[in-house]
């Protein structure tokens, strides 16, 4: 369980996240959605201790993310970001081995090697194991990174806009991998998404933000509705039920209300 209590983050005088309180339950996929500048990524950044909070506390299973030591948190919660560019030449195996860093500090034991093998097999990377990351396609690299956080063996996995720059096929693959991880390995995934339909299709819960506050926190059937989406995005969305899921259609929306504020 991730408990967010009265959390605020300011840049200058603007509160990007404004006195937010929420509880993210253990297990399942929780998506953070909302318009640009709503504070989704900032909130996720504070949960993943990449950003400091200006006020309030965030705990993960009772551990305060700001005061708990780095390697204890690293065994509880992993972070995956889309822009993972670096200059070092690493093989897939090297990268996945870094997932065991919180346990072995860079010197993997037999036990760590088992975790590494399992994580590589789970994402079907065995035949790419000794290839360098920069030789792989975007989709393969992404699988290598997911494999790394799996090897990290944390209960929680936080992802910031993982579908950015991914085509349809890779987006679906990513979301299905996350679904499998949640179902098979009983993990908790918190993910920032822009596409409301991916959020609707794959989430157990949606946390919808606007202007630094949480406006809705409920299942997709509640948040993916014309009224809620109008409240969030000021866009008139037609919502249809397809294969039992709520799907919003907004590509030709005519009645775009004047945005209430600009980012």
């Amino acid at each position: 369980m991730i408990e967010i209590t009265n959390v605020t983050k300011r840049y200058g005088t603007t509160a990007v996240v404004d006195d937010v309180t929420a509880t993210i339950r253990k297990g399942g996929i929780t998506s953070l959605i909302g318009p640009n500048g709503a504070g989704k990524s900032t909130l996720l950044g504070m949960m993943s201790r990449l950003l400091k909070t200006d006020a309030g506390t965030i705990t993960v299973d009772g551990l305060d993310v700001t005061s708990t030591s780095g390697d204890v948190m690293a065994r509880k919660l992993a972070i995956l970001r889309q822009q993972n560019y670096f200059e070092a030449r690493l093989t897939v195996e090297d990268l996945v081995t870094f997932g065991r860093f919180p346990y072995c500090k860079g010197r993997p034991t037999v036990e760590d090697k088992k975790h590494i093998d399992r994580a590589i097999e789970y994402l079907e990377l065995s035949d790419l194991r000794y290839r360098f990351l920069h030789e792989l396609s975007g989709g393969q690299q992404q699988r290598a990174f997911v494999s790394m956080v799996l090897a990290q063996d944390t209960d929680y996995l936080l992802l910031d806009e993982p579908l950015n720059n991914l085509d349809m096929r890779h987006s679906i693959a990513m979301m299905q991998q996350l679904r499998h991880i949640v179902n098979d390995l009983n993990k908790t995934v918190v993910i920032v998404l822009h596409d409301i339909n991916f959020a609707s299709w794959y989430s157990d819960e949606i946390l919808a933000m606007r202007d630094g506050r949480i406006v809705y926190h409920a299942g997709p059937e509640v948040v993916i509705t014309p009224k809620a989406l109008m409240d969030l995005y000021d866009v008139e969305v037609t919502v249809e039920t397809i294969q039992g899921k709520s799907v919003g259609v907004y590509y030709g929306a005519m009645n775009i209300a004047t945005p209430r504020h600009h980012d």
């Binding site: 993943s48 201790r49 990449l50 030591s69 780095g70 390697d71 204890v72 948190m73 690293a74 065994r75 919660l77 992993a78 972070i79 995956l80 970001r81 993972n84 560019y85 670096f86 200059e87 070092a88 030449r89 690493l90 090297d94 870094f98 997932g99 860093f101 919180p102 500090k105 860079g106 010197r107 097999e121 994402l123 079907e124 065995s126 035949d127 790419l128 194991r129 000794y130 290839r131 956080v149 990290q152 096929r169 679906i172 693959a173 299905q176 991998q177």
Partner: protein
């Protein structure tokens, strides 16, 4: 998974010379260059030649190691393989300190000052300046590392301009004294200072060795290294402190010489076959020794001291680097 129905085959590790074997080859090369340097044209005067040349080689090992370590770890924390610590204005600050000394005391006074005192003053000024800059920006104001680097570059330009201004105002003989200090030289290094330098560099080498796996993890960038449990802020501060001390010591020993850190670091990355710091740092240090001893050898025996070591090293190193790039080893 959306993948074609290919049977996953466990691939075998492609053959590649192990990094330790590669290190050994580079090490043998360094040993060969040092041996030639120690024995060439000795004409049997071993009692004189060995200690005399040995002192130069020792100074080169100390300075070369300092530059190799500082460049590699600085590039690791900045996640950028084009930057070197010299971009933070270290060389420029060194020259400014010398220029101010000449400007205020005159060239003769500077030349007569005990080299030990000059060494201590140089190291102190450079360490205090960059320590203050790092502390102010990175800890107190909590600014991102790249802003720190940018401000370092601007300070470097400021120092250079100020140095130029002062150099235009002093008299020509004083200027000649200054000109001398602006080229790195191993020809007149004080024996005690080499000892002090060796101790400091040795201690830092040990510290780097103890945290080499943390440095490896930091290659993944800030977000990922925090995700896997690295105390990022603390580690960056430690690396910056070590870099400052290393660069200050090497510059104060022989003059501005950080120029070839970029070269040896990249040679190490390209040839040692691993990104692990336990391989790249020793490789870069060995390359430093090869280039500096080799350069000194050519300077002494081909050009009869009628050139400067930096010209030698940058010419040979630059050529080698271009060859490496063209061969597509990058």
């Amino acid at each position: 998974m959306l993948r074609s129905a290919s049977v996953p085959v466990e691939s075998t590790k492609p053959f590649s010379l192990h990094p330790i074997a590669r290190l050994l080859i580079i090490g043998l090369l360094a040993l060969a260059v040092v041996t030639i340097f120690m024995t060439i044209n000795s004409r049997g005067n071993w009692d004189f030649v060995l200690p005399f040349r040995g002192r130069k080689v020792l100074a080169i090992i100390v300075v070369g190691t300092a530059i190799a370590i500082s460049t590699v770890i600085f590039q690791t924390i900045t996640a950028n393989r084009i930057l070197t610590p010299s971009i933070m204005g270290f060389d420029a600050l060194f020259m400014l300190v010398q220029t101010i000394a000449v400007f205020s005391m005159g060239g003769a006074a500077l030349a007569q000052t005990d080299p030990k005192i000059r060494f201590v003053v140089n190291v102190l000024v450079m360490t205090v300046f960059s320590g203050a800059l790092y502390w102010w920006l990175f800890i107190k104001a909590n600014r991102p590392l790249h802003l720190l680097v940018l401000i370092g570059i601007i300070f470097g330009t400021l120092f250079r301009s100020f140095t130029n201004l002062l150099q235009r105002m002093i008299d020509p003989t004083d200027f000649a004294v200054l000109q001398d200090t602006s080229f790195a030289s191993f020809n007149s290094v004080d024996r005690t200072l080499v000892g002090i330098g060796a101790t400091i560099v040795g201690v830092i080498l040990l510290m780097v060795a103890l945290r080499n796996r943390i440095l490896d993890a930091m290659l993944l960038g800030r977000a990922t290294s925090i995700s896997i449990g690295v105390d990022y802020q603390r580690e960056v501060m430690i690396v910056l402190a070590m870099t400052t001390i290393l660069v200050s010591v090497s510059t104060a020993l022989v003059g501005p010489i950080t120029f070839f850190g970029l070269l040896v670091a990249h040679l190490a990355y390209h040839t040692v076959g691993s990104s692990g710091h336990r391989y790249t740092i020793p490789a870069a240090a060995l390359y430093s020794i090869i280039f500096l001893v080799g350069g000194q050898l050519i300077l002494e025996h081909v050009f009869n001291f009628n050139s400067s070591l930096s010209i030698m090293v940058e010419f040979a190193g630059g050529l080698l680097f271009i060859i490496l790039l063209l061969r597509g080893n990058a």
